[in-house]
Amino acid sequence: MRKLSLAVASALAACVLSASLPAFAADTSPDATMTIGIGITMNTLDPAQQNTTTVRNVLDYEVQTLVTFNERGELQPLLATAWEWSDSGDALTLQLREGVKFHDGTPFDAEAAKFSLGRLIDDRVSTPNGQSYQVIRNMEVIDPHTIRLDLEYPTADLLLALGDTVSAMMSPASVDAKGNSYENLQNPVGTGPYKLVRHMRGSQLVFERYEDYWGDKPYYKNVVLKIIPESNALEAGLRSGQLDLIMNPPVSDIAALQAQPNIAIIKAPSDRSVYLSFVTNKPPFDSREVRQALNYAVDKQAIIKNVMFDAVNLSDSPFAPSVSGYCKTGVYEYDPDKARQMLKDAGAEGIQVKLGTPRGRYTQDYEATQAIASYLRQVGVQVDIGTADWATYTADIFSVDRNPYNLFLLGWAPPAMDAMFQMTYFSKIGWPPNGVNGTFYDNPEMEAIFEKAQREIDDAKRNDMYCQIQKMIFEDAPWMFLWSQNLILAHNKNIEGISYQPNEKFVTIYARPKD
């Protein structure tokens, strides 16, 4: 017995020692590897079929879009070097980058672009986030490196949508690759700086530098993305030096991580607004005064500080700052007396609120809801909190008449940071069952402006219209405006060049060890 336990103990010890964890020295060998921990479950690898932000982020190593965004959310050329709108605004001509090759050797040209965009508007391909591209009526290959998109109607938002990974350029030849079909490109072949060499499901994705990449080559030969859903495990991995970069560590630890000598924190603003939806087509929230009153009743600043650990930014508009057309509308400052008075004036004292929240879907969602509930109780509102797993929750809140909640927490982000997509959270077009606007907010005046704004391709005019809309929404308060999230990145301080896009994506293409 003693012998046995000794044997076991020494075996365990051997395991422990063999783990000999790496220190924080960044890998500087020629075959250097950067290891990133991500906290999601992968779904499909076909960009066109994609509907998850972080999976898009992963795919960005492999595939590239025609345009992209910088850290401020401004449009940048990528595989398209230049573009031009027709005078009427219903045709977009794009100049494509020359000398670009897909990983399978196929040259990137206008035909490839036509193929890739064509899949998005083809009924045979399932494209959950393909709405933005339905406006493309026709595609003309003008020359091998010029393509013209003819649209149903003028819309500037299409250009932004071309920056969404969903519209990434795919090698037409990859249709014949193993495991692929036209409808389903599970082994995507793109033009990105890395190529996916190994996908261990549920465990990790291994990318290797693509040596024929058209642009500046990345420093790291390999990028390994480890799939670790538990944020504690991510944090432990970073702290021990096994991971170079992690996303969304537990927010309660941000301060502590920042204090670590080897770790740096990036708070990347995102386009995701977190808010509570009032169900506005039923009492008591059919009253604007009641909705405004509740907006005044909650001390969002205090919650951001105490519950959110300053991981989020207070919303000052129905749009998050990185969404195109954003304009500042203001904040409902915490004023419980005013809230009480307004409720009294509206005859809505002691109203019943059934407050719904998901758990763990958004930063501190459930915890924040609890805090909000206690503020609401302080102004005399009776709050009953309900929660459910995500599938049940979404089924509940998107039902037309069986929603058990009359106030519920959500956090949406338009994938391409376009105003049009953001508006589906406010407009009639987004009412369930067609969309995610469970508020049933109905403002004909606003809808009219929105109608015009969608077709306006002059940036200044359009932004004006959206600004008007945002002010209307702010006044009408179909939401309790809370905050916009940040993508929290924590990384090894010895690595520089880690950046982000303001749509919850990190960018490490040009990351390298500090000298």
Binding site: S231, P250, S252, D253, N306, G360, Y366, E367, S374, G386
Partner: protein
């Protein structure tokens, strides 16, 4: 599995143990008594722990001045102190109060779930064992299907159907362990069916239902009670596991499993927060297991 059953029946260990088959051995009864006594000391400890947990749960309003759902964000993540004996959680709620109130849910779920399991499983098992033949075949096939999931998995799938919440979790945990009750009751019925008094009852023309109710059930009760006690722990673990995943009793209800689930986001920031709910679950399950062991030894030393 048919094969498994037949093998178990031939199991040499299934026979009565003979501590000393020597007819000279005067030790046997004492031996058994002794064993009973020793384990009863552990069982007593279990009963005391359980009693404390029950008293804490029932008398929570008098024992603690804290409201288990009252949050005070300025007091979040406090370490244990005179005001908060076990500290506060991420929303500044008193952990001790939450654990005391939480006992109500956790213990209740455990007991009711087992009651459900026994109420469904035992009659099915008795019928299966008593009637045998094709009835038995059909029921056993069904039980096999359920047994091919383990308790937690079964409960998990059920909760997905029933939705989250105390009621669903209780039912799910109960159904989760129910197949085992079918097995136990069936085995008992099989052996009781062969006894003389059942044969006599049949001769007297008693109906099957009457025989099952009058003769089979009372005789199967001892092992079922022992098994039920030992399974309260299991159902508590299943329910707490669901709570841990966020699929159990929903917050702000201070059920221990969901408290632990909430606390796991803070293991770096406040490792203390996950310590106490886990300890509470452990103690509750332990006390039921100790009592179950004690009962088993006292009522039926041959049962394992």
């Amino acid at each position: 599995m048919t094969g498994m059953t037949s093998a178990t029946q031939q199991d040499p260990a299934a026979g009565a143990p003979a501590p000393m088959a020597d007819d000279d051995a005067p030790a046997a009864p004492q031996d058994r008594f002794l064993r009973r006594f020793v384990s009863n000391r552990a069982a007593t400890a279990g009963a005391i722990v359980l009693a404390i947990l029950i008293v804490m749960a029932l008398a929570a309003p008098w024992l603690s001045s804290w409201d288990p759902t009252l949050q005070d964000l300025s007091q979040a993540f406090q370490k244990p102190s005179a005001a908060h004996w076990l500290g506060t959680d991420n929303l500044g709620r008193d952990v001790l109060a939450r654990i005391m109130y939480g006992g109500r849910y956790t213990l209740l779920i455990g007991v009711i779930a087992v009651a459900i399991a026994a109420a469904i499983g035992v009659p099915i098992g008795l019928i299966s064992g008593y009637y045998g033949a094709s009835v038995d075949m059909v029921i056993q096939r069904g039980a096999d299907i359920l047994l091919s999931f383990n308790a937690f998995l079964l409960a998990l799938i059920l909760v997905a159907v029933l939705g989250v919440g105390m009621q669903s979790v209780t039912i799910a945990a109960g159904i989760g362990v129910m197949p085992q009750f079918i097995r136990i009751a069936r085995a008992e019925a099989l052996s009781i069916r062969e006894t003389d008094y059942v044969a006599a009852a049949v001769n007297f023309g008693s109906g099957s239902g009457r025989i099952i109710l009058r003769h089979v059930l009372p005789n199967a009760l001892t092992p079922v009670i022992v098994y039920a006690t030992l399974n309260i722990g299991t159902t508590i673990l299943v329910a707490a596991g669901l709570g841990f995943l966020g699929l159990g009793v929903q917050p702000p209800t201070p059920e221990w499993g969901s408290m632990l689930g909430e606390a796991r986001s803070y293991i770096f920031h406040a490792p203390m927060q996950m310590t106490f709910p886990g300890l509470a679950i452990f103690l509750a399950v332990l006390s039921f297991n100790l009592m179950g062991d004690g009962l088993r030894d006292a009522l039926d030393p041959e049962l394992r």
